[in-house]
Symmetry: C2
Subunit: 260 residues, 2 copies
C-alpha cells in the first residue's frame, strides 16, 4: 500500500465500536496485481457495510472488476466528464476542485485511502468537479449502474450507499460552518485535527503525518490565502501546539488545538 510510505501504520490501532481497525495488507503479488477483491481488501471496513455475509461479499467481488492507477497531479476525472462510476481510493490521496465560470477555484475536499469519490456526479449525470491525485494513487472502479442493481437486491448495501452519501452531505455542512463562522486560526486547527482523526481511524498515527497538499491547496480548501495558512502554522509552532516541518506535521497538544 502506497499510503504506508506516507504515514507510519500503527499496530495498536484503536478498537472503538465505530471504527473497525484495518490491517496492513502484505505486499504480495496478489494484492498488487491480481483482480481486486473486496473480500480481501484492507479498506473493506471503511468501504463496506459490516454485516455482509461472505456470499454477499463474493458477489461484490464481481462488481469491482478493475482498478486504475493515477499519477500524482493527474486527474481521475474532470468536471463535465460523463458520470459512470464511483471510485474507492485503495491507496494514495486526492483533492476535489470545483471551478467557477470566472476561473476561481475552490478545493471542496481531500480524500485519502478508504474514501470514495464521485457521488456528486449522479445528479447531473456528469462530474461536478475535478479529482486530482495528490500522489501516485490507485482507485477501485465501481460502475454505478451495477452498484444500483446490487443495491436493489442487497438491503445492507443499499443502506450503506445512502449512508455514505448522507455522510458526505454532513461533512460538507461542517465545512460550510467552518468557512462561514470560524477565524483563520480556528479553520487551520480544525483542519489538522480532522486529518489526524481520519489517519487514526485508518490505523495510522494521529499525532504525526505528512501533508500531501501544498499550503496553497490547504488555503483554497479553508477559504484563505496560502500566506495565512503559513502564518497559522508558525503561530501554532510558537505556541507549542504543533511541530510543522514543511509537510511533516506533528500535533503536540491536540487539546490545546481544539480549544483555539
Amino acid at each position: 500500500m502506497q499510503v504506508a510510505a506516507v504515514c507510519e501504520p500503527r499496530h495498536d490501532a484503536p478498537r472503538s465500536s465505530h471504527v473497525v481497525p484495518i490491517h496492513v495488507v502484505p505486499r504480495t503479488a496478489a494484492t498488487r496485481y491480481a483482480v481486486p477483491r473486496c473480500s480481501t481488501c484492507a479498506m473493506r471496513a471503511i468501504c463496506m457495510p459490516p454485516e455482509l455475509t461472505s456470499d454477499e461479499l463474493s458477489r461484490l467481488d464481481t462488481l469491482i472488476c478493475s482498478t486504475r492507477s493515477i499519477k500524482r497531479g493527474d486527474a481521475l476525472y474532470r468536471a463535465g466528464d460523463a458520470f459512470q462510476s464511483i471510485y474507492a481510493i485503495r491507496a494514495g490521496s486526492f483533492k476535489t476542485v470545483v471551478m467557477h465560470r470566472d476561473g476561481r477555484e475552490h478545493v471542496t475536499g481531500f480524500q485519502i485511502a478508504g474514501d470514495s469519490l464521485g457521488f456528486d456526479g449522479i445528479g447531473e449525470g456528469k462530474q461536478n468537479c475535478d479529482a486530482i491525485a495528490l500522489e501516485d494513487s490507485v482507485v477501485c472502479i465501481i460502475p454505478f449502474a451495477q452498484l444500483e442493481a446490487i443495491c436493489r437486491e442487497m438491503k445492507p448495501m443499499q443502506h450503506h450507499i445512502y449512508q455514505m452519501m448522507s455522510s458526505e452531505i454532513v461533512r460538507e455542512s461542517s465545512q460550510m460552518m467552518l468557512l462561514g463562522t470560524m477565524s483563520a486560526e480556528q479553520r487551520v486547527a480544525t483542519f489538522l485535527l480532522n486529518l489526524s482523526k481520519r489517519f487514526k481511524a485508518r490505523g495510522f498515527s494521529a499525532a504525526e503525518f505528512h501533508l500531501r497538499m501544498t499550503r496553497e491547496e490547504i488555503g483554497c480548501f479553508l477559504g484563505m490565502k496560502l500566506e495565512t495558512v503559513s502564518r497559522m502554522f508558525s503561530k501554532f509552532q510558537r505556541e507549542r501546539l504543533v511541530k510543522a516541518n514543511g509537510k511533516t506535521i506533528r500535533i503536540e497538544d491536540a487539546e490545546g488545538l481544539a480549544r483555539v
Copy 2:
C-alpha cells in the same frame, strides 16, 4: 397553497426540458385536508422522477400517508432527533441550522416548496441539524424505511433518490465555493440570483419576491454579519441592480447582478 400568498404565481412559467412547470392546485377541501397524494401533488414534477407509470404513482400514494403542519418559528426536527423520515415541503419554507459545540450557529440552507429535507440524517441515524419553519408550512412525511423498500423495487425512484442526494452534495459544494472565495458583495448577489432562479422554476416571478428570512439569517447563511448584508442591499439599490423594500425584493438588473 400558502406560498401563493408570498410570491405571485406566474402562468407563463418556463417550459425548459429540465424544469417541468408546476400548476397551481385549486384550494379545494380535497387538496387542503384529504390524505395527501403524490399523484395529484403540485410539486410532483420537482419531487418525483418524471417517467413513472400511473401504477407506480399510485403505489407512491400509499407511501406518503401523512402531512404535518409546522408553525412559523417551530422546528420540523432538531439535531439529535432520531432519523426516521424524509420530508418534502408542500407549502412554506424552512431554514436548516447546524450548531457547533461552542454555540456558534450556521444556516446551511433555505428550503422552499418542492424541496426536500432530512437526507443528512441517514448517515448517523439521527438528524444533523435543526429544520425551522420560516413561515407556517406543510410537509409530506416520507418514512425512509418504506422509501428504501420502494427504491429496491422501482428503479426510476431509486435513481431519483440518488440524484436528489447527489444534487444536495453539489449544492453544498457551490455554497462552499461561495463561502470560500467570494466577497460579501458577490455572495449577496449570488444568493439573490439563486433564489430568483428557484422561484422561477416553481412558476413564480423571477424578478420580484418576498424574503421569508431575516437579514441575520441571510448573513448566517452567507458567512457575514447582518449589517454587511444590509449594506450590500443598499449598495445594490444605489447601483439600480435591485430594489429592496424590507423583505420585498425586486431584481432590476439580473445581468448586472451576475457581473458583480
